[in-house]
């Protein structure tokens, strides 16, 4: 039986996992492309929270020294490295999101819909028509 300290120490990770899986569920289960992007963003933010929580030190503070640079050695600071990583990841994340949204605009222009099911149906119909034409060209045997 794990003790209460272990549960409190790991609860954060489990809650992040719940958020992450909500994002994954939206990506897999929903057919609307914009909603899928929102789900991806949820997933991403949950990963960011997980990373940041790894750098946290109990009783610590933000890794910013006093302006006069007279550092009190008794003050604990949280780890700045995950923060730097996640700063980069947020900016790259918005870049990929905007690219995905631009792709959605193009898809809507081409297919008149942003629902996955309908796009799939249009594609299948196109393949059927193509097969039929090819079959007739081959003498109606295909």
């Amino acid at each position: 039986m794990p003790d209460i300290e272990y549960i409190l120490g790991h609860m954060n990770y489990w809650l992040f996992t719940v958020l992450m899986m909500t994002g994954l569920y939206i990506v897999v289960a929903k057919g609307n492309l914009i909603k899928k992007i929102v789900g991806l963003n949820l997933f991403q933010t949950a990963v960011f929270m997980f990373y940041i929580s790894l750098g946290k030190v109990t009783g610590g503070t933000a890794p910013i020294f006093p302006v006069d640079m007279e550092i009190d050695p008794s003050v604990a600071y949280s780890n700045p490295l995950p923060h730097v990583l996640i700063l980069t990841a947020i900016v790259v994340g918005i870049a990929t999101t905007s690219l995905g949204l631009a792709l959605i605009v193009r898809i809507r222009e081409e297919y008149e819909t942003i629902e996955e099911d309908e796009i799939l149906k249009i594609e299948t119909d196109l393949v059927h028509v193509e097969n039929k034409i090819l079959g007739e060209a081959m003498g109606g045997r295909a």
Partner: protein, 188 residues
Amino acid sequence: MLETFINLGLFVMLVATAVAITRMRRLFGVTMMASVFSLLSAMLFVTLDAVDVAFTEAAVGAGISTVLMLSTLTLTSRIEKPTTRSPLVPLVVTAITGAAIIYGTLDMPNFGDAHSPAQVGVAARYMAESPTDIDIPNVVTVVLASYRGFDTMGETAVVFTAGAGVLMLISGLRRRRRKGDDKKEETS
């Protein structure tokens, strides 16, 4: 102890927002909820001592990405059509993935442990030497712009590539649309 309660309260709100996003079918509401989610996560970042990240998340996640989503909504559609697929398979997939991730966290160090592997590596060196090396109070800035400046340059390249890609994808949108209208008028 108080910090744990604040964290828990923020988590409850985050999960409620995420569930609302899952259930909502009006995409305008979904976008607003995503913005709320970003702001809540920025608050969580502040309690986790990551003030720079909170700042960026509030500006980028709640600001720019909401604007981008809204402009996409005006160019596409506003309502999500109900899907015919059963939610069973996605539920099973997410349950298995989540269980695997939770299994992976079981042997991780406790939250806030000052002696975890993440704390004892190069981070301690940066904290100790940046006051004499660079003399900037904010260590996050020091690492981002000085020690790991090349990473930030790579990030800029990624953002530039994404921007160029977006421009290539949607440039000529109006021109193509007008051409399409002409064609429709000719046929009708």
